[in-house]
Subunit: 158 residues, 2 copies
DNA sequence: ATTGCAGTTGCGAACTTATCGCACCTACGA
DNA sequence: TCGTAGGTGCGATAAGTTCGCAACTGCAAT
């Protein structure tokens, strides 16, 4: 577990337990977005007795402390990733499930525009649509591409 | 049920049942985004025997036919709304749960930018952050406003 | 080192949202 | 009016997440 996270936990009076360290490390090592179940599985490869309830409770805590970000990539389950200095946004492909990243500067005037027009302070956004491959395969002809996964194959890595 | 929806259903060989009409009407009358449970409740005020399974199946069908849109406003459940000619996007307030609408022209070059930089065809996007009221109450000082609902009161209307 | 205990964990049960199987029902064309 | 493929109600099931509680443990004080 990184020094920063360790300190944050302990400074605030939380115990530094192996379970917490393991969850944190799993998230760091994975890099991408993981569901609770996946995190639990990774942790259990080394410590099979760690319970999923603990994983959920740890994630809740880490999110609360701002060490981990809970991202919305769909309505099916929750995904988690280490909170970064420069937060990014997500593009979810309806075709293959692939998740792309976008940084603030590639959002165009979105952040500023929403603040100006609606007084809304954007923290994070997720866009749904079709990635380059699926758009090409599903059909540049028409707006509603093929239903579900097909064409370019599923590069799913949620 | 609107003439258009009726025709679409029947033209494609689907039966026009009272249950389907009721679900559709509930969505039209509500205007906003409804969850399956809420739709079912509205329908049941008049026909208490309509089952939630049927509501789910009807929503699935209507979404498939492009008459209803399933929007992602969080990871907790799915929301539905009548598909409009000019689709809009959503801003979800982390503070009060309020949901604001944004139209394409207020997205700043987002759609074009994503297409240009990543080849991504945006269909719909959802942004999370703080609405004007919550940002003002939670604290214009700093970036991470108050935790959860407080301050301006909960105008929640998911 | 030992101790005390509030904070944590494991486990099972409960909850929530959404899907499925199946017998009965019904919209609609013949 | 009838026949039947499509639809519905109901209960069971599945997946994801939360909760209650007894047992356990990190860590500060001794």
């Amino acid at each position: 577990m990184s020094h920063h996270a360790t300190r944050t936990l302990q400074e605030l009076g939380y115990r530094l337990t192996p379970q917490r360290t393991l969850v944190w490390d799993a998230l760091r090592e994975a890099g991408g977005h993981l569901g609770a179940e996946e995190i639990c599985a990774r942790v259990q490869t080394r410590f099979p007795n760690v319970n999923i309830s603990t994983v959920y409770r740890t994630l809740e805590l880490l999110v609360e402390l701002g060490l981990v970000r809970e991202t919305v990539l769909g309505s099916d389950r929750r995904y988690y990733e280490v909170e970064e200095e420069v937060p990014h946004h997500h593009l979810v492909c309806d075709g293959c499930g692939r998740v792309l990243h976008v940084h603030n500067e590639d959002l165009g005037g979105l952040t500023a525009g929403l603040l100006r027009n609606q007084g809304f302070r954007l923290r994070e956004m997720t866009a749904f649509g079709y990635c380059r491959e699926c758009a090409a395969a599903g059909g540049p002809h028409g707006d509603r591409a093929a239903d579900g996964a097909e064409g370019g194959g599923d590069h799913a890595h949620p």
